[in-house]
Amino acid sequence: MTAALQAQGLGRRYGKRWALSDCTLDIPAGHVVGLVGPNGAGKTTLLNLASGQLAPTTGTIRVLGGRPGSDRAQMGKVGFVAQDTPTYAGLTITEHLKLGAKLNPRWDDALARERIERLGLDPAQRAGKLSGGQRAQLALTLGIAKRPELLILDEPVAALDPLARREFMQGLLEATVEHELSVVLSSHLVSDLERTCDYLIVLVDSRVQVAGEVEELLATHHRLTGPQRDTGRLPADQQVISASHTDRQSTFIIRTEAPIHDPAWTVSQLSLEDLVLAYMNTTARTHHRPVLEAQR
């Protein structure tokens, strides 16, 4: 099966600032991929590179085997819903669908109309008059009716209330089953992605911190709690993601393929949110260390 997204040493610079650096990924098709990280981490840059809106400064990126934005066939295979699910305020829903039909060779008009009807939207309504949730649903309808193999969405639910979020994700996931769609979506909130994604990329400070299947990530990351111990005295096959110590106790978040036999540790499972936060904190600490030392 062709990979949904492959990147090798991918980077993008704006002036002197690297918005994305040294990004290497290999994501098989058939996943719902969550891209998480704080605001400004480089999520939008990565998604814009994948959808062909941006060209890389260094490295290569392949989407469904082709170069993003290279030709009409490639553009037809990849759908992109930009941040804040943009629509044309002055155009009606029907006009949006007509535009979609004109711009997309694989446009599925019946699907689009059926979806609008099921959502209970009035086709004569102008997009500017729709609620945020309805506008997002319109943008999603345009993305799905294009009949892409991969749909890329940039923070699609960030501006929505909880009910609209849930309805949006229901519609999106239903479409993945119905049309065998691969999905990449970004969010700065893990809770948006926890049940919906089966592949996760954590992006912090323009770098990919960790990427992999959610199930595998959860199975290989553990929290160890026990008597005080130096980080250096952990086995070599245990990669330390985060460590904190009191005078008596140490708590580590580690990644390992091997079982943990040391009876000194209480081993507990991590939630996806704990896991992501551990990677985010690691970066924060390495960054702030010089400042802390200067203060001492």
């Binding site: 049940r195 919906t196 089966d198």
Partner: protein, 130 residues
């Protein structure tokens, strides 16, 4: 037809929650041989969860011999769990009651009872695996 629900705070993975809910429905007689499970699309659209989670749960139930897929139609219950376990419930509950009375007499409060039960339960489960 049953409807699934997910408890975000249970700490149990969504896939396992689905498996347990089907087993529970089989035990209680809510699902019987020949009944259809909700389609993957229905579960995904209802709960907003990843389709692979549902597929994994259904495969696990299939592996346990509880359900079987009929291509193009859906997934159907092939076995019930009612009789065997329901009959044993009463006696087990009585044993547990007796044990609880003993624990209270020994001066254990609710939390201590829960702790002793969970640690024993986990140790036994781990020994079973090993």
């Amino acid at each position: 037809m049953i409807e699934f629900h997910l408890d975000e705070r249970s700490g149990v993975s969504p896939y396992l929650q689905l498996v347990r809910q089907v087993r529970q429905a089989l035990r209680l007689g809510l699902l019987q041989e020949g009944d259809q499970l909700p389609t993957v699309k229905e579960v995904v659209a209802g709960l907003a969860i990843n389709p692979n989670t549902v597929l994994k749960a259904y495969r696990e139930l299939e592996r346990e011999g509880l359900v079987a897929p009929r291509p193009g139609v859906g997934t159907f219950v092939t076995r019930t769990l009612t009789d065997a376990s329901l009959a044993a419930h009463g006696a087990l509950r009585q044993d547990l009651r007796r044990w609880l009375t003993k624990a209270r007499r020994a001066g254990l409060d609710d939390e201590s009872i829960e702790a002793i039960f969970m640690t024993t339960f986990r140790t036994a489960a781990q020994e079973d695996i090993a």
